[in-house]
Symmetry: C2
DNA sequence: ACCTTTTACTTGAAGCGTCAAGTTTTAGGG
DNA sequence: CCCTAAAACTTGACGCTTCAAGTAAAAGGT
């Protein structure tokens, strides 16, 4: 069992790791709880609605929406069906290309997003940004980028098209590496 | 809809947040995939087995195990039932106190952990620690601590006892705030 | 000593996500 | 102009998690 002794984690790494495992389990849970309590939505459902709310014409093809929301097409299909039954989304075949399905946010859906976003953003702030100093926020972003890169390209659960991902409200900020610590210029945006 | 305009996220925070959402979805998925592929175990199941493997006598009460694995007692009960059917865990009522159930890791279970741990630790290293400089690892730990604190005490999904959590192989490291950047002293330990 | 409460856990049903087929529509090749 | 192949979903079944009850043992009150 001890052939070529594996590289165990150092005590510090171990501590970090346990901290992270807790985070990965509890943060999604906490955010889901807030959304479910205040809006009756799962985090994934919210992502879907928020993604549509920022798309041109509040419309996106299912595949693109799946990439944006970080889920499989199958999952999205099930979820959109439920959202459609609740009256927040409509589906139509793309007139230009019949095998695409366009998901469109209804007016009721838009209202739902508008009503839900502020509370959710507030919770994200409270749990993630408020407890961190500006310096740590920058560090966190950097760390996230690096680990995401290590995980590899968006080869999500399954078979998804390759696209640069329409990162929603792509305001002019060109994702450079060095940038000052946000002087707080509130932009529009519902996908916190 | 715009009564007391909410504090939207700044563009930098928004970037950070999207990075994080990706991380929270993809890291667990990636680790689950590795464990499932190489060992046929979910991450939660692994946590349970690893937790037991480091407990005295490879034994833990269900409640304690639930806290350690960050899950509800109900979930643990279902999972342990399955692990028991696979021959890796045994359950017995505590002779000292009949309402406690003790989960015990069998020899087969221990072998499973020993066979699985190195590969999992290697994946954790590859995805989380290798892409980070020592300084960033320290930052990550610190950030994790702060956000975890903001989420609040271990009031997990449900009704769980209050205990300082037996953080598994509690080697002499007394979780102080300042500590050098691990000179790499490989300790025993199977919960990465 | 008995009865209520609390603790610790188990169980069953319901909901959501994943996986493995289907469908339908477009694109290509001969 | 067909005929196969690929793309873009959709659907159904299975497994796991959660939620709400249910059970059994120990504490605590009177």
């Amino acid at each position: 069992m001890d052939a070529t002794e594996p590289r165990w984690l150092t005590p510090e790494e171990r501590e970090t790791w346990l901290e992270l495992v807790g985070l990965f389990i509890r943060l999604p849970t906490a955010l889901d709880a807030q959304l479910r309590r205040d809006a009756g939505l799962s985090h994934f459902e919210y992502q879907v609605l928020a993604g549509l709310s920022e798309a041109p014409d509040r419309t996106l093809r299912m595949s693109d929406l799946a990439v944006f929301a970080d889920g499989s097409l199958s999952r999205l299909s099930h979820v959109v069906k439920r959202l459609e039954q609740r009256g927040w989304v409509r589906r139509t075949p793309d007139p230009c290309n019949g095998r695409y399905t366009l998901a469109v946010l209804t007016d009721a859906g838009m209202e739902k997003v508008v009503a839900t976003a502020p509370g959710h953003v507030e919770e994200v702030r409270r749990l993630v940004f408020d407890p961190l100093t500006p310096a740590r926020r920058r560090q966190l972003r950097d760390i996230g980028t690096r680990i995401n890169a290590a995980i590899g390209p968006d080869d999500c659960p399954a078979h998804l098209p390759r696209r640069p991902v329409p990162t929603a409200g792509n305001n002019g900020t060109p994702a450079t590496t060095a940038d000052p610590d946000g002087p707080a210029e509130p932009p529009e945006g519902t996908s916190p």
